[in-house]
Amino acid sequence: MEEHFPMKKIMDDQGNLIDSSYANDIDEDLVKKLYYHMSRIRLFDRKAISLQRQGRIGTYPPFEGQEASQVGSALALDTDDWLFPTYRDHGAMLTFGSEMTRTFLYWNGRAEGCVPPEGKNIFPAAVPIATQIPHAVGAAWAEKRKGTKNIAIAYFGDGATSEGDFHEGLNFASVFQTPTILFNQNNGYAISVPIEKQMHSKTIAQKGLAYDIPSVRIDGNDVFAVYFETKKAVERARAGEGPSLIEAVTWRTGAHTTADDPSKYRPVGQGDNVVHPIERLENYMKNNDFWDETWIAKMEAELTQEVESALEAMEEYPPAKPEDLFDHVFTNPPSQLVEQKESYLDLIGRE
C-alpha cells in the first residue's frame, strides 16, 4: 500500500525545494505568513505548557512538532469555511481565527473557551475521539444544500481512525459527496499506542480508498506540502467534487498531555532525527534569502507581546459564575432547573 500512497514532499529537511513545479507559487509573502503563524502557535504552545507546570491552567495537550500540519491546512481555508478541531488543534484554531485569550480560558476549565468569534465557524475542540468527523460532514452537506462554495475541514489523529465515527463519517461524506476535508495528523502515537499497534494497515490514506475518497499521504512537517495539498482538496470541494482525505505524517515532539510521560512507551532516541517543521522552513528561508533578522526580531517581539497580553486577559477574566451551570443548558430552562439554580444560589449566598 505504501507504494500507492507515496509520501509527498515539496521541500526536504534542509529546506531545498524538491518539487520545482511549486517554485512560482512560493513567494516571500506566503513564506513569511507561514513562518509567522507557525512561530505564533509555537509560542502559545510553550507558554501553555509552562502555565500548566505553574498550576495556572489545567492539563494541556501540546502540539509542538505539528505546527506545519496545523498552520498549512488552516491557511488553505477561506474565512467562511468550517473548522472541526480536536483538543490538540488549538494551533489550527488560532491560525483560523480563534481568540488567544479564550484559548487559554479553555485550558483553564472555562466554557468561554469554546465560544468562537462572532461569524467564525469554529467548533469547540472535540474531546471524545473521532466524534467531530460526522459533524464536519454534516456542516459541509448543509453548505452544499445551501448552494454555497463553503467547505468544512475535520482534524483527527491516527488513533481516531480506529473509531466507528471515522468510518461512518467517511462513508457519509462519500455517499453524499460533501465538500469535506478529512485532515489526519498522523503523529505516530495515540497516547502510548504506536501506529503499528493501532492498525495493521500501512497507511491512513489507504482507508479513504475503501470509500472512493481521493486520498493523499504527505509530509506533515513540510508546510508547503500541507498548504498546497490542502488547497487542492479545498478547491475540489468548492468545485463540487466531494470529499478528500489527507494523511499528514508528523511527529508529536512532547508528551500526549502534561499528565503523560512518553519515556514510559517511546524508545529512547525515537524522533530525534525529525527536523522541526519551523526549523525546516527557516532553512528554506535562509536558502532563498528570505531570512530577515530585523523582521524576525520584530515579529518575535510582537508575538511575545500578544501571548503575554492574552495571558493577562485570561487571568483578569471575571471568575466563572455558578449561574453559568444552569443558564445555557436550554433556550428556555424548565422550571425544575430554574428552581435548582435559585436554591443553590440562595445557599451559597448571592453576590
Binding site: G58, P128, K197, D260, Y265, A320, L325
Partner: protein, 339 residues
C-alpha cells in the same frame, strides 16, 4: 504452579498499605496469576500501564497476549470482549474514562446485558468493564461523568462502586469471578486519596452488600464511591451541631442492598441520599423507592436527595459548584432533622 500456590496461601496472612488504584491493580494481578483465562483489554493499559497506572507492570509480568493494548475503539473493545467471554475467556476491559464508554453503549445495552437471557443461559458474558468516573480533579471536558444509571437501568448487568482500597480489591475480584457482566466504577478522585491495609492474595467482598460505616440515630446518609468521604465530612459537621448521622456506603449500585437501607432508615426515620450524577433519573430515585417500599411508615420526614444538578458536568472551573458539597448535604440533614 505449586510454588505459586504455596506463596499465595502464605501471602494470605499478610497485608500491605495500598492506595485504591494500587488495590485495583493488585486485584487484577491476583486474578491474572490464579486464572489463565483472565485477560485485560484497553487503551494504553499495556506498555503505559494505564493513564492512571492501574495496570502498571502487568504487561511485563503477564505478556502482551494477556494485557492487551487495543486499538482506540470502545465498541471494538467491548464487542470483541463479548466474543472472548462466550468463548472461554474472562475479559476485564478498561474504558479510559466513564465519559468514553458511550461509543460502547450499543454493545453493552443490546448484547452484554441480554445475551444470557435470550439464549436461555446457553451463553453468558462473564466480563468486567472497569472505568474511572467522577469530577473533582480538574480534568478536561467529558473526563468527569458519573454515568451509573445508564447501567443500573440495563437489566442483566451488575454495577459496583467501591469507596476504599480494601473494597476496591475485594469487589473487583468478586466481579471478575462473577459469571455475569459487571460494571466496575472507580472513583478517580479517591484513587490516591487514602492508603489502607489490604490483604495480599485473593479475597472477595460480596457484590450486593453495602456497609454501615458510621453508626447514628437521627438520620441515615446514603452514598457511594467518591461521595462517601464528602458524606462523612457532612456527618461530622452535623455531629458538631448535635445531629447524629448513620452513614451507609452502598458499594453495589445494582442490585441494591435493600435490607441495609431498610434497617437503617427504619431506625433513624430519616434519609439523605447523596450522589454526584444528575438528580433526574439518578439512582437516588431507586433508593427512594426502596425506602418507600420497605419503610414508609417509619419515616419522620420526607427523604432528601443531594445530587449533581440536571446539567451536563461542566468544565472544571465550575465543577465544585456542580458536585454535592458538605454544605449542601448539611442543609438537607438539617431540613430532615428539623422537619
Amino acid at each position: 504452579m505449586n510454588v505459586k500456590m504455596e506463596k499465595q496461601s502464605e501471602q494470605k496472612q499478610t497485608t500491605h498499605q495500598l492506595t485504591m488504584v494500587q488495590a485495583v491493580s493488585d486485584a487484577m494481578k491476583t486474578m491474572l496469576e490464579i486464572d489463565d483465562t483472565t485477560l485485560l483489554l484497553g487503551e494504553d493499559i499495556g506498555k503505559n500501564g494505564g493513564v492512571f497506572r492501574a495496570t502498571e507492570g502487568l504487561q511485563e509480568l503477564f505478556g502482551e497476549d494477556r494485557v492487551v493494548d487495543t486499538p482506540l475503539s470502545e465498541a471494538g473493545i467491548v464487542g470483541t470482549a463479548v466474543g472472548l467471554a462466550v468463548n472461554g475467556f474472562k475479559p476485564v476491559v478498561e474504558m479510559q474514562f466513564m465519559g468514553f464508554v458511550y461509543p460502547a453503549y450499543d454493545q453493552i445495552m443490546t448484547h452484554v446485558s441480554r445475551l444470557r437471557m435470550k439464549t436461555m443461559g446457553r451463553f453468558s458474558v462473564p466480563m468486567v468493564i472497569r472505568t474511572p468516573y467522577g469530577a473533582g480533579i480538574r480534568a478536561p471536558e467529558i473526563h468527569s461523568d458519573s454515568a451509573e444509571t445508564i447501567f443500573t437501568h440495563m437489566p442483566g448487568i451488575k454495577v459496583v462502586c467501591p469507596a476504599t482500597p480494601y473494597d476496591a480489591k475485594g469487589l473487583l475480584i468478586a466481579a471478575i469471578e462473577d459469571p455475569d457482566p459487571v460494571i466496575f466504577m472507580e472513583p478517580m478522585r479517591s484513587y490516591r486519596a487514602q492508603r489502607e491495609e489490604v490483604p495480599t492474595g485473593k479475597y472477595t467482598v460480596e457484590i450486593g452488600k453495602g456497609e454501615k460505616i458510621q453508626e447514628g440515630t437521627d438520620v441515615t446518609i446514603i452514598a457511594w464511591g467518591a461521595m462517601v468521604p464528602v458524606a462523612m465530612q457532612a456527618a461530622k459537621q452535623a455531629e458538631e451541631r448535635g445531629m447524629s448521622c448513620e452513614v451507609l456506603d452502598l458499594k453495589t449500585l445494582y442490585p441494591l442492598d435493600r435490607d441495609l437501607i431498610a434497617e437503617s432508615v427504619q431506625k433513624t426515620g430519616r434519609a439523605v441520599i447523596v450522589h454526584e450524577a444528575h438528580g433526574t433519573g439518578g439512582l437516588g430515585n431507586d433508593i427512594l423507592s426502596v425506602i418507600n417500599d420497605t419503610s414508609f411508615l417509619y419515616l419522620r420526614a420526607p427523604i432528601e436527595r443531594v445530587t449533581g444538578f440536571d446539567v451536563p458536568v461542566p468544565f472544571f472551573a465550575l465543577e465544585e459548584h456542580y458536585l454535592p458539597s458538605p454544605k449542601r448535604i448539611l442543609q438537607s440533614i438539617e431540613k430532615v432533622v428539623h422537619f
